[in-house]
Symmetry: C3
Subunit: 294 residues, 3 copies
């Protein structure tokens, strides 16, 4: 049995195997578990992309998905997360994908579960399937991470992908830089990459990964209006013109249009934003295959 909790738990070889499997799936490869399998997606926070992506990935692998809605479950009677997951294990579910607003929610679960757990995003912690689809999208574009300039721009502190992406990109040989509001930058991040102003970033980066301003997670930067944020830290149409030839734009979505990225650029030629969503399915098929094969 093997959980999928953070990318930090994985060796570079394991990550490359996952990317290779995702690549095979993107080219139409098929894989099915030997026996009928059941999955449950326990999403304690809103999600369109990640949830539907897991749903499709599961079905493409022939896995049956058991529906679950928190607000109609026994959680409303005070049942704990642990007892809820144990219940799904007992009824015969073979894998649980969980998104939860508590950092490291999985720590109290993993020791007592017999079924694999996939982290679908924990608080401000990790979001390893998103990280993996980001890596896959970059590899698909450039073939390799070696010496690639990858900029991570925006709300680094609250993002569940920024720091783990930076760390794994560095391990893979990329050159990481950060940008965005300085109050969301910590000196501890310097070991992964340096801080640059957005105007420098756009001229040097091969990949500009913008992060979503998570209005739903923090309220303290209300000081800056959306227009001001866009002008100071966002990808304006003017800045896009100064980007390197063949460089690409990424964003985990949903994009706050005209905040992180100008509306017109969301579906522009450089944008890989919807390609990322597409790749998410292949990456999640690879993750499910991995945890169900062990």
């Amino acid at each position: 049995m093997s959980n999928f909790l953070t990318l930090n738990d994985l060796t570079i070889i394991e990550i490359k195997e996952l990317l290779q499997d995702a690549n095979q799936f993107s080219k139409g490869a098929q894989w099915f578990p030997a026996e009928k399998r059941y999955a449950v997606n326990l999403f304690f926070e809103p999600s369109t992309r990640t949830k539907s992506s897991f749903e499709i990935a599961e079905r493409k692998l022939g896995i049956e998905v058991i529906p679950f809605e928190i607000d109609k479950s026994s959680l409303t009677k005070g049942e704990s997360l642990y007892d809820t997951v144990k219940t799904f294990e007992a009824v015969g579910v073979d894998v649980a994908v969980i998104r939860h607003d508590q950092d490291g929610f999985y720590q109290e679960l993993v020791d007592n579960l017999e079924i694999p757990l996939i982290n679908g995003g924990d608080g401000c912690g990790h979001h390893p399937s998103q990280s993996l689809l980001d890596l896959f999208t970059i590899e698909q574009e450039f073939g390799s991470f070696e010496n690639l300039n990858v900029a991570i721009v925006g709300d680094i502190m609250h993002s569940r992908v920024a720091r783990s992406n930076a760390e794994v990109l560095k391990r893979l040989g990329a050159n990481v830089m950060f940008s965005g509001p300085k109050e969301w930058f910590r000196t501890s991040y310097l070991q992964a990459g340096e801080y640059l102003e957005i105007d420098e970033v756009v001229e040097h980066a091969d990949v500009c990964m913008f992060l979503r301003i998570q209005h739903e997670r923090h309220h303290e930067t209300a000081a800056l209006s959306k227009e001001e944020y866009h002008q100071r830290y966002g990808l304006t149409e003017e800045r896009e013109k100064r980007m390197k030839k063949d460089s690409i734009i990424m964003h985990p979505a949903p994009v706050n249009r005209n905040v992180e990225i100008a509306d017109k650029l969301v579906e522009c030629k450089r944008s890989r934003i919807f390609q990322q969503i597409k790749n998410g399915v292949f990456v999640r098929m690879a993750i499910l295959k991995r945890v169900l094969s062990h």
Copy 2:
């Protein structure tokens, strides 16, 4: 690729083809897409009939249905309808059925989507799959629309089927008449059919289509109590007795029992109300087949 947005977009030949397909499905015919297909049903307004009918129709065609709940989606984080539908397109969904409270919600979507869209009801606009099942139920009963007297009774102004049903019935050769509260009748409707009092209607109509009073959509006619409405505009037991031999009662449901129609008549011999629901599945199979075949 072909959307299914309003019946007005379709020629009489296309409508007859759909009715013919629905008829085949009602007799047990089978049709499956060449490859595995995925559907999503995005319902922004409550629904039991239309949603479950599409769900069953999709499954009968072997289509996998990806669940979606607005209140657990990224729409709660401010994501737009457009970005939501684009996301489902990106994860690999092949067709989206959408019900939305905004008239013509699909106009901002269709130009930029690559997957077909099915209108599951837009505000006070259209509800083409309901219209089609109404037509199918009439055809099933009478074999033809030629010279048939069809009455549409009730809240014509707010109904998403009244006006488009009237228009298409006229194109098909039927004779349309309207009844119900005059404040919900506009002189513009006269080009489709004349206005008659309910007591005249019941004696002349072959088909009495009652419309639901949509308490959830308008509040201005609270002047009339339910009992008063029933007595003045509804199908009372007394009026039913005066209906023509072989004439039928229809209603899109849910019926406000003892308002539009007397409780005892909802499942009476003349009533085709549950037959309409049954037919809805066959009609939606025909619609799905159409949009997935193009």
Copy 3:
């Protein structure tokens, strides 16, 4: 057509047939309806275990499950339970599982429905699939009910399984005893079994079935704190030590840990609590097979 509403409706022979079928399913036996079948699970009260258990049971039998959420259905427009279930019948659903907070909700339904109904729990009335899985778990453990001492401990009055379990256990030859707060005990229960203090119960019972304190159903016993309840009526670690060799602990779950049962005992060697959940799937497969075979 055959409904599954209460265990009282069934003969001992029918109950034993169901237990035998459940036993076959627990050993990997397969059964599929001759044709494709559709189910709907209408849960008007929160549920994790019962709902997911039916979901899995349905899928293991190859039955397609049509999703339903009350708060997105036409029930929000005032549609009745009857019209809702009739609608599912009309769209082609073959079996409906219903949980509802109204005792005997099914009485107004059964006469006019053509599809079988399974009671997934009605108010403080019955919960026959839970009762059956309790019986199955006991039979699995002891092989027979004859002369077995079965204690039912806790909130007997509000429980939907206590009284019907007691009645059927007696019919099966077991010796039933009750314990818990006396204000939740009625002299009418004495015909099924006698009342004993918990300290006596633990020393005599082969099976200790604890009932959940349903905070969501009644508020009048707030007089007792959770700690006090646990000390006076619950299974403390000290009491467990005095239990008979080979006796078992049962609970329908969710357990209020440290109220009905000490936290440490929930997954102890004597506990069959997660085994009960596991057995629930097999029992529900047997029930579905029964109602779909008639």
